[in-house]
């Protein structure tokens, strides 16, 4: 396994019962970059993300074949601890999902599970995480009020903060801006750009423009297959495959 890749996926296939959601996937992802996963609905994007932190394990009747390595470690091996894996590979979902508790408790949820209990240490983590997600200034005076009272954009940034509080290595965002207004979207994109210095980022963008704004590399998926993968400017200016070109120029999708 070469060191320059953070994630290496080899001959990977994923099934929900009889449905094949990902076909023979080979893909390597470098650290400190934003990798955008592009494709129409039902092309396997979310399945890919939820395979990397094994959240798909929660669903009954799923199967996989092939290997996924993170830092050379096979994630489907017996020795892999799931809570540990999910702390290393943080995820933000397409809809804001604050837990019904205070803002503070939301962000402290992950660290507390790890066994961090001191108030001062938790306070630090909460502040750093909220600052990194560009939310601190808006909520610092009401950390103990319910997270459900935040606006949609704030809730989504809270979810990002909550994920950062895990101190992950890889962060995955599944259409984090769907349902958000352009201003919230811009502030989330801004925080992504600064986050990539520390993390490996996998992003399912909510449209092609967003991918072209933030991504370093892009993979185009269709029907569970990786059609084309390459540096962002290449994919957006001179794609090699006809299907990619059609999708990017808006002929379908």
């Amino acid at each position: 396994m070469e060191n320059r890749f953070k994630v290496v996926i080899q001959n990977f296939e994923f099934h929900y019962g009889p449905v094949l959601a990902l076909k023979d996937l080979n893909l390597s992802i470098r650290p400190n970059q934003i990798f955008a996963i592009l494709g129409p609905a039902r092309s396997g994007k979310t399945t890919l993300l939820k395979s990397l932190n094994r959240l798909n394990d929660l669903i009954f009747g799923t199967r996989h074949r092939g290997q996924v390595y993170i830092d050379g470690q096979e994630i489907f091996s017996e020795q892999m601890s799931l809570p540990e894996l999910r702390r290393r590979v943080g995820m933000v979902f397409d809809l804001p999902t604050p837990l019904p508790m205070s803002i503070f408790d939301n962000v402290a949820y992950g660290p507390r599970l790890k066994g961090i209990g001191e108030r001062s240490r938790l306070g630090e983590i909460v502040e750093t995480s909220l600052t990194a997600a560009v939310l601190w200034d808006e909520v610092k005076d009401r950390l103990y009020s319910s997270a459900l009272r935040l606006s949609g954009g704030q809730q989504q940034r809270l979810c990002i903060a909550r994920m950062l509080a895990l101190e992950p290595e890889i962060i995955m965002l599944d259409e984090p801006c769907s349902g958000l207004d352009p201003i919230s979207t811009a502030s989330i994109e801004k925080s992504l750009m600064s986050l990539k210095e520390k993390y490996t980022i996998l992003l399912v963008p909510h449209n092609i423009q967003q991918a072209s704004r933030v991504a370093d590399r892009v993979g185009f998926f269709l029907g569970g297959e990786l059609i084309e993968e390459g540096p962002s400017e290449e994919i957006f200016t001179r794609p090699k495959v006809k299907k990619t070109e059609d999708y990017i120029s808006g002929r379908f999708g």
Binding site: R87, M91, G110, L113, M163
Partner: protein, 277 residues
């Protein structure tokens, strides 16, 4: 004959109003009857004094204690068992033969008349396990009786928690038990409390199963192995054996006030819980 749409509307509306108001009416009639006869007899001495002359005079203090202790024992035993079963059904198994059998069993138990539970309790707890007529036998019997209700309501409450909250919790590195403790149970709490309250109501009002398992002694209990008499049983005996209709009504009024107090406390608890933080 064809009835116009407007006419159907009116008829439906009338039927619904009649239904709602006859329900309310019957409820008020019962409350009015019991409270009119019973309330004037309620004074401190009645609540705090011991029954005298088989209950013809005196108070009902020991039966109030009996009711509260017996109900507490039943709820304390049935709640963890019921909630545990509900968690097992929802979080630890998928729809399977085992879960279907458990659910079928609880559905059947929910429909069994209380006297059957009483008979079971008498044979099993009182005779076979030699617990005698006691708070423990009665409490265990009532626990088996209210268990299906608690399982069913707790399961519904757990079922209604969205999958995405669980997914978030697992995604943040929680184990299954951490997810249950920190996400599932707190959010299911109001629903679980409703089930427990239904159980409390049934326990407080039960007579047949209690007479068979906890006895009907109105002496003050001094341990879990003492027999007791609950307010409902006291009421039943006073009325059934023609000891004193007046005292029966007074006991009935006190019973209604007790249930009112329990429900008010539970509502307050629920309100505090929902509006926390």
């Amino acid at each position: 004959m064809k009835i116009s749409r407007h006419r159907t509307q009116q008829i439906a509306k009338t039927i619904i109003w009649v239904a709602a108001f006859s329900t309310l009416g019957v409820m008020f009639l019962i409350l009015y009857q019991v409270l009119r006869e019973g309330l004037p007899l309620l004074h401190l001495q009645f609540f705090l004094g011991p029954p005298r002359q088989m209950g013809r005079t005196g108070g009902i203090f020991s039966t109030i204690v009996g009711t509260l202790v017996l109900t507490a024992v039943a709820v304390v035993i049935a709640t963890p068992l019921g909630v545990g079963t509900a968690i097992f059904l929802r979080e630890y198994t998928r729809e399977s033969r085992v879960s279907r059998i458990i659910r079928f069993g609880t559905d059947c138990l929910a429909g069994v008349p209380s006297i059957i539970f009483g008979l079971f309790g008498f044979v099993f707890f009182v005779i076979f396990l030699k617990m005698g007529w006691s708070i423990l036998s009665g409490g265990l019997t009532l626990a088996t009786m209210i268990l299906p209700t608690i399982i069913c309501t707790a399961e519904e409450a757990i079922k209604s928690i969205s999958y995405s909250l669980r997914e978030v919790s697992y995604g943040l590195g929680a184990t299954r038990w951490q997810t249950i403790r920190k996400v599932v149970l707190p959010n299911a709490f109001p629903g679980i409390l409703t089930g427990v309250l239904l159980g409390v109501g049934r326990s407080v009002g039960e007579t047949a199963a209690v007479i068979l398992t906890a006895g009907s002694s109105f002496l003050m209990p001094d341990s879990l192995f003492s027999p007791i008499r609950t307010m409902a049983v006291h009421f039943y005996i006073l009325a059934r054996e023609g000891i004193s209709m007046e005292m029966a009504y007074a006991t009935g009024a006190a019973l209604i006030l007790l249930i009112l107090a329990i429900n008010t406390a539970a509502n307050w608890l629920m309100y505090r819980y929902v509006h926390r933080g």
